[in-house]
């Protein structure tokens, strides 16, 4: 219903012939999003810090907020409780059997931690934390991972400068080259000499009540 949108609609018809593929026919449906509406929903934070609000928080304040809101699932030291995710530890385990992937050992960007906690945690009460509280919690998680000292203060200004241990631990999908040999003419006869069972299902009774 927005006037703004219908103006764009009209002018885009003029533009249609001028600038090719990006200007397709418009339907004039929907309305213009208001700045406050965009601000309410557009919360994501990019690795370069785009989207971070003003604010800061130190390790000790973070520890308090964490103890109150997070520790009963993630542990006092972010080490995890029962089956709930561990947020600290696991450094140097990525090339081991059963690596322990945590914010400290695995996450390549600190922006992701800020963004995820700000939008999605605590579990069951998301989007209830202030920016300063989130800065403090993230500082505390860094501290729990032995990545900063206890007097560390995290802020919008220094967040992108924190170096994450596994920042260089990722490559873009390379299946096309490293798995090119899976494009093949498959064997149909005499494909191997002998076949032996090497392993049986560990969990045989996984189906709760198999009906006969």
């Amino acid at each position: 219903m927005s006037k703004f949108h219908s103006i764009t609609f009209a002018s885009s018809i003029v533009a249609l012939t001028l600038c090719g593929p990006l200007q397709a026919e418009k339907f004039g449906l929907g309305r213009a999003a208001l700045p406050d509406e965009i601000a309410a929903w557009d919360l994501d934070v990019h690795p370069d810090g785009t989207g971070l609000p003003e604010g800061s928080g130190d390790v000790l304040t973070g520890e308090e907020v964490f103890a109150e809101n997070c520790a009963w699932c993630h542990g006092d030291f972010a080490e995890g409780v029962d089956n709930w995710p561990k947020l600290a530890g696991g450094m140097g385990t990525l090339d081991h059997e059963d690596p322990l992937k945590t914010v400290g050992s695995y996450w390549p960007y600190l922006s992701t931690t800020w963004d995820y906690i700000n939008r999605s945690m605590p579990f069951g009460n998301a989007q209830s934390l202030t920016p300063d509280e989130v800065y403090g919690i993230v500082a505390y998680i860094l501290y729990s991972n032995d990545l900063v000292d206890e007097d560390f203060v995290l802020s919008r200004e220094n967040l992108t400068q924190v170096e994450m241990p596994n920042a260089n631990g990722f490559i873009i999908d390379d299946r096309k080259t490293t798995e090119a040999h899976f494009v093949t003419d498959p064997c149909m006869q005499d494909c191997k000499d002998k076949v032996e069972i090497t392993m049986r299902a560990r969990v045989l009774d996984v189906t709760p009540d198999t009906t006969e």
Binding site: L29, A32, H46, S120, G124, G169, C191, K192
Partner: protein, 422 residues
Amino acid sequence: MTFRFKGTRPSRRQFLAGAATAGAGAVTAATAKAAGDPLITEPLYWAQGLGEGVDATPYGLPIEYESDVVRRNVEWLTADTISSINFTPIHALDGTITPQGCAFERHHSGAIDLPKEDYRLMINGLVDTPLVFTYGDLERFPRENHVYFCECAANSGMEWAGAQLNGAQFTHGMIHNMEYTGVPLRTLLEEAGYQTAGKWVYVEGADASSNGRSIPMEKALDDVLVAFKANGEALRMEHGYPVRLVVPGWEGNMWVKWLRRIEVSDAPVESREETSKYTDTLANGISRKWTWEMDAKSVITSPSPQSPILHGPGPLVITGLAWSGRGAIKRVDVSKDGGKTWETARLAKPGERMALSRFYLDTQWDGEEMLLQSRAMDETGYVQPTKTQLRDVRGLNSIYHNNGIQTWWVKSDGKAENVEVS
């Protein structure tokens, strides 16, 4: 006016027991019983009385005898059922379309109750006009229908280190295949006027998990669908009612449910779901990211551990599903001897792009043990690898994208078990 069958309905067990007594007591029988199957020779309640009237169940459910054909979860996999997964009963289904009611669920913060009237979809970022659509607006754009499979990247993830769960539902059931009705994402991006600097779109759900993924603009403009119907009816709550994203051939996590926002940007967000999760760690500790496409894969759904052979030697139908995120299935081969020899199965119909294919091997069973395997091949020439071939490249810690060949050890009594073979 109602006509109802008033007599008590005998249970199947009572009925058969009665029939057995009748058979054994033939000598003393005062009333002559016809020889043969009592299901044929006796008058039966369904042939005498009246059945249920219309409207007894305004929205129909499967008959009680099929009550075991349901989604199931594995409790110890996750801390609770709110951030959890369950599995489609693929061992008991046939054809290719998954009924919504038994299609697997995966939530990060539970399935939310979002009324259609309260639904809003925002497009913002690098667009000429940031827009908000209501559900009603979406229904006024030209729509398309497509059948696509949706597979969780973690399907078969428990099996990386070896055979674990005993049933096709649990090893391969994080998949479903539906006919979607929706508006191409391209249409909405054009409506907002996406700018050439926009190389990515970030798509985000309305639930508390804020599940969000970055999708390259090329894919967004290609075949991504903003869907509101599945198999002809509204999406189920657990699948994102009223609107979800459909990202053909790509991992299920990107099929954002309760879609609320589409942001055009110049770079990926690197959200939690595309860094901490849905990245694949190789043996050397380096992890692949942006492994969006689902590799070609197949599984025999019957016989399988939850669907044993219940008859003796003779005609046997071996059947299963095959799919590829890179296009259509071209061919499926089946082996009965653990991969020594293969025969080509029959596709129920020619493979369709990014949709499940059903295959059948109509064969004779000699009553001997079998090591059953299936091997899919897609239109790009990619052949589903063995688990050993996969591990040679990826190691044991990938969690996601396990498309290795599955083996069922069918014993001479017809029972089957999940095994691995040399």
